[in-house]
């Protein structure tokens, strides 16, 4: 059996197991063991992948399984991975593990919660390993529906509104994606939905324009690019902690990953022609997200807008079309995924104690909950790009790449995007200063208990991942770099 199928099977088995689970203990046992297995498999896959590369396997995609699914339309269940997917799987499994631990004590309908959560992760894992356009779309949709329920039922605040908004906007995005995918399939004339096959075909340019706009905007909505980002702040703020982590850590990456795998890879000519429009949008979104975050007072809103800013940088890097920048984009994906997950995790921990997320209602929390405070500070410092953490590597790679383009448009946009380095520092330090430092003004806050063991484990795993990527970036950047060549060749043709 193909090793990759484990990533879909484990969540499925978790769902079955949860269905029969009777009590809290069993539920926790199943989810924890499932997510540990996922994490171990992802680590194992990384080593397997490196081993394959080391013994000279130069195939574009490894561990391919190809099963005809609906032959009449050339739909295959086709999975396989390259370095990029392996890293995304690693990221996803780390975040799933951390999220499961964070929701260790969730009290309403835990069984159903985890069933939907497992389905969500199955969708995400499936998405990252698909090589067939249909499979890709299938898993994209699969990771969509559970979000609606998870936010609508287990959320807080105006959860129904947010759930509807998120589901409808993302659904709208996937309709555009579907349109793009079908267009690519029909107009390429290929007898296959296989990404690698399709890449060999050229689609007429005038049709490519429509398909590119459609699929890029579609994935842009999922990846929260300005001006299609408005589901992000509401969705994140209403979602329960672990879903917030999943949403910004993985779901938003689905959009960026898809934009790269489908829109840029398969429609390179149109991508070149139309890049400037989206480049402007993306650079603006970096700037815009950062400045909006500056004016927010709700912790989750701040991080949501920070995510918009960081994901804008991601799209920005993709559209520069050089090796360095795209490598940077993927590093940014992982880095932002981990950092934002850590952020949401700690915000969740703070919220579960203070029952408020308004920064003006909190003060001096560092004194009572030092562990959470330190984790929050680490997340903040990583997010503002402190060397030693992953954010620095990603941003620097992106900007080095961006500075390789000398024309005026790129220069100006790069400078605009680069201002975020300062603004990020401003809003992060503002939050850290307000929430953690100073003296406690609310007497009830004195009674808080510091992080429990599951919270600690979850945070530590994330911090280790962030620091690991930040201090040994070459491991990952080489894996990404190796896998970029086919795409770059396609782009340069």
């Amino acid at each position: 059996m193909n090793f990759l199928l484990i990533f879909i099977l484990i969540p499925m088995l978790m769902m079955v197991g949860l269905f029969f689970a009777n009590n809290r203990k069993q539920i926790n046992l199943i989810t924890l063991s499932g997510s540990v297995l996922l994490l171990l498999s992802a680590i194992g896959l990384t080593f397997l992948y490196l081993h394959q590369r080391a013994i000279g396997n130069t195939a574009e995609m490894l561990f391919i399984t190809d099963v005809p699914w609906y032959p009449a339309f050339n739909i295959h269940f086709l999975v396989g991975v390259d370095g990029i997917s392996v890293i995304m799987l690693l990221l996803s499994s780390i975040i799933v593990f951390a999220s499961v631990l964070v929701s260790w004590k969730i009290d309403t309908m835990p069984k159903e919660y985890f069933i939907w959560f497992s389905l969500l992760s199955a969708g995400a894992f499936g998405f990252f390993i698909s090589l067939d356009l249909f499979t890709l779309f299938f898993f994209l949709e699969m990771s969509l529906v559970p979000k609606f329920l998870l936010i609508g039922i287990w959320g807080s605040g105006k959860k129904e509104y947010s759930a509807f908004k998120l589901a409808l906007m993302v659904m709208g995005g996937s309709v555009l994606v579907l349109f793009g995918i079908l267009g690519i399939y029909y107009f390429s004339g290929a007898e296959s939905m296989n990404l690698l096959e399709l890449a060999k075909h050229t689609i007429p340019l005038n049709i490519q324009y429509y398909l590119f706009v459609s699929s890029f905007v579609g994935f842009g909505i999922i990846g929260a690019m300005f001006p299609f980002h408005s589901w992000v702040p509401d969705g994140h703020s209403s979602a329960p902690t672990s879903v917030s982590m999943f949403l910004s850590g993985i779901s938003m990456k689905l959009g960026a990953y898809g934009a790269f795998r489908v829109a840029i890879f398969l429609l390179p000519e149109a991508a070149h022609q139309l890049a400037w429009i989206f480049l402007i949008l993306a650079a603006f979104s970096v700037f815009y997200g950062a400045f909006t975050a500056l004016a927010q007072t709700d912790l989750k809103y701040i991080n949501a807008y920070a995510s918009i800013s960081h994901c804008g940088l991601l799209f920005f890097a993709f559209l520069i079309f050089n090796e360095t920048a795209i490598t940077g984009a993927f590093l940014q994906m992982i880095s932002h995924g981990l950092i934002t997950a850590l952020f949401f995790a700690t915000i969740g921990m703070i919220y579960s104690r203070t029952h408020t997320r308004m920064i003006n209602d909190m003060n001096g929390l560092m004194k009572v909950i030092p562990f959470i405070g330190v984790s929050f500070t680490i997340a903040g410092l990583a997010s503002l790009g402190l060397p030693g953490f992953s954010g620095f590597i990603a941003e620097m790679t992106i900007f080095v790449g961006a500075f390789q383009e000398t024309d005026l448009l790129h220069r100006v946009l790069t400078l605009i995007a680069a201002t975020s380095i300062v603004i990020t520092a401003v809003y992060i330090l503002r939050v850290v200063g307000k929430v953690l430092f100073g003296t406690i003004t609310n007497k009830h806050h004195l009674e808080f208990a510091d992080a429990t063991w599951w919270e600690r484990v979850s945070v530590i795993v994330l911090v280790i991942a962030i620091a690991g990527l930040g201090s040994a970036p070459m491991l990952f950047s080489n894996m990404i770099n190796d896998s970029l060549q086919p795409v770059l060749n396609n782009l340069m043709r």
Binding site: K158, E160, Y161, F164
Partner: protein, 126 residues
């Protein structure tokens, strides 16, 4: 017309005769479905429609593709389906009777309370 009657009286019933019968059955079924207020009558009308279809299946098979059996099978299949459907429908009707003490279609409005519906949409939008 002459051909029709000559066939009719020569012992072989023409295709058209069957179709006329099934057409009449079908439209009386449709009429019943549209005009009756009692659930039972509506159910019977549906049965009429289904039976007229069965006749069509059998007849077309017999006349157009004498060697094949698919039409007959479909007719049998439809009969089986309609039997199941009737059983379910009757069960529903009985339940409705137990709850409402009649089986009039007009009295069943509980699933579309307009007021409740609208407030819910409002809530979601806030």
């Amino acid at each position: 017309m002459g051909e029709f009657f000559s066939k009719l009286f020569s012992g072989t019933i023409p295709l058209e005769a069957y179709i006329v019968v099934s057409l009449i059955m079908f439209f009386s079924g449709i009429y019943g479905f549209l005009s009756r207020k009692s659930l039972l009558m509506i159910l019977i009308s549906i049965e009429l429609i289904l039976n007229s279809i069965d006749i069509n299946f059998a007849v077309f098979n017999r006349y157009l593709y004498p060697g094949n059996m698919e039409g007959f099978f479909f007719a049998l299949f439809t009969i089986a389906i309609s039997a199941c459907e009737t059983a379910v429908a009757i069960a529903i009707v009985i339940n409705i009777y137990r709850n409402l003490n009649n089986v009039e279609v007009d009295s069943m409005t509980e699933l579309r309370e307009p007021s409740a519906n609208e407030t819910e949409i409002k809530e979601v939008n806030e």
